[in-house]
């Protein structure tokens, strides 16, 4: 394994970053200039174009952490540990965006910053769990770090369907069961989702590139160390 990345990886990365930049610029411009101002809430309603895509990306990122956890436990290959941890880190950033934009929306729509509503509560629990994932992972220095992280990724995933279905399972939900937008609003929401999903893939690529280089440096150091230690009983 060398620190040099394969050529196809670098080419893909350039393409993904270019697509992410273009899509985000286009979606932000659309939100600011094209999206209609909602009659009741006014401009605050435009938070939905950040809030909903961030929530979707969060669930996708934690879902990938789950899948990577299973793959690591089955194969014990370092790359799956790297994918799981990287995806979880990015998922945490998006989850925090959801936690910040949610109350901003709630203040305008429901006249309160926070209410113990099913989706809010279950999402907050999800945020705590995955924050704990990072704290526990950071506290492990031994070889068990990868296995423990993979198991946490699998176990904590149990909460994702609960967040998703909470609006159906519990009464008193203020979140709608489905987003029922039409026309230009729907178009811009879908564009924003596409933009942030591609951005997630781009950041994941960057994070995996770092892991690749770290792993390459470690294996080079291991190879140098084993070459420097003479075999017992062998004399020059």
């Amino acid at each position: 394994m060398t620190a040099q990345l394969p050529g196809w990886w670098r080419m893909c990365a350039i393409g993904i970053w270019a697509a992410a930049g273009a899509l985000i610029a286009w979606s932000l411009w659309s939100v600011a200039a094209r999206a209609p101002v909602e009659a009741v809430m006014g401009p605050v309603q435009k938070i939905v174009y950040i809030h909903v895509p961030s929530a979707i990306v969060t669930l996708l990122a934690f879902g990938i952490t789950f899948a990577a956890g299973i793959a690591y436990l089955a194969t014990k290959q370092w790359i799956w540990d790297a994918v799981g941890a990287a995806s979880c880190e990015i998922g945490m950033v998006f989850a925090t965006v959801v936690m910040v934009t949610g109350p901003l929306w709630a203040r305008s729509a429901w006249n309160t910053w926070w209410t113990w509503e099913p989706r809010l509560t279950t999402f907050f629990i999800l945020w705590i769990l995955y924050m704990g994932y990072h704290l526990v992972r950071a506290s492990i220095r031994s070889t068990s770090r990868r296995t423990v992280s993979a198991i946490m990724g699998v176990v904590f995933f149990v909460n994702l369907p609960i967040v998703w279905k909470s609006v159906e399972w519990w009464r008193g939900s203020l979140h709608p069961r489905n987003v029922t937008m039409t026309g230009e609003m729907r178009e811009i929401l879908l564009l924003s989702m596409a933009a942030w999903l591609v951005f997630y893939v781009a950041v994941l690529e960057r994070r995996l590139r770092l892991e690749w280089m770290r792993e390459a440096a470690l294996s080079e150091a291991d190879a140098a160390a084993s070459a420097a230690v003479p075999l017992k009983g062998v004399t020059a």
Binding site: G132, V136, T147, I151, V155, V158, N159, I162
Partner: protein, 223 residues
């Protein structure tokens, strides 16, 4: 019969430490007392407040129990010795889960009458149904708690894993337990919230199934 041997070994270790058992009993009683003072002296909805108190007290006392079980194993080197026996890892897990279940059941037997007295709730006719609810909740708590304890073994952040992350992971179980207990103490029937029995049973099966797959991997990681 590895399962019963391991459970008996863990319970024997607990029983030898009378000071710990006394602490567990006092801690549970103090929790019920504090919560009843916090909600009282005039209770607005005694059935609701009492059901929340039982399960909050049981959760915190259970954390104390799980942490202690982990300490005992670490101090005596029992975990390493068990692995050296070459026994089926899932049988070892089930034995530990059984021991934790019995310990939690002991705490429940203490907490339940205390809460019923302090909040003046309860009816002996609903006791069998209440024990059924407690059985479902405690199986899930013991199953997931033992898995988390195995995950936390040897980690610096084990308190975080057990006390901070176990509770959110078991939210469906706690909500189900509180809702069913409330329904029993309030109206004498679980009919209005019957679906929560399925949710709790699903959490129990999921915990035991995940452990069947993951416990061996955790043991390997700990070596």
């Amino acid at each position: 019969m590895t399962l019963f041997a391991v459970a008996a070994k863990d319970l024997k270790l607990h029983a030898r430490d009378a000071r710990y058992l006394a602490t567990l009993v006092l801690f549970s009683a103090a929790l019920v007392l504090i919560l009843s003072v916090a909600f009282g002296p005039i209770f607005r909805d005694p059935a609701r407040e009492a059901s929340a108190t039982v399960w909050a007290a049981l959760f915190f006392a259970g954390i104390l129990g799980l942490t202690r079980a982990l300490d005992l194993e670490g101090e005596s080197g029992g975990g390493d010795a068990l692995r050296l026996t070459g026994s089926d890892p899932y049988a070892l897990y089930l034995g530990k889960t059984l021991a934790n279940f019995l310990l939690l059941a002991g705490v429940f037997v203490l907490v339940l009458p205390l809460t019923a007295i302090f909040f003046d709730v309860g009816d002996l006719r609903v006791l069998p149904a209440l024990l059924g609810v407690a059985g479902l909740a405690l199986i899930g708590y013991a199953a997931w708690g033992t898995l988390f304890a195995a995950l936390a073994r040897g980690l610096k952040a084990r308190e975080l894993l057990l006390s901070v992350l176990l509770f959110p992971s078991l939210v469906p179980l706690w909500i189900g337990a509180v809702k069913l207990t409330h329904a029993l103490w309030d109206g004498g029937s679980i009919e209005p919230v019957r679906d929560w029995v399925k949710v709790m049973a699903a959490m129990d099966v999921l915990g035991l199934a995940l452990a069947a797959w993951l416990y061996e991997l955790l043991q390997e990681a700990g070596e």
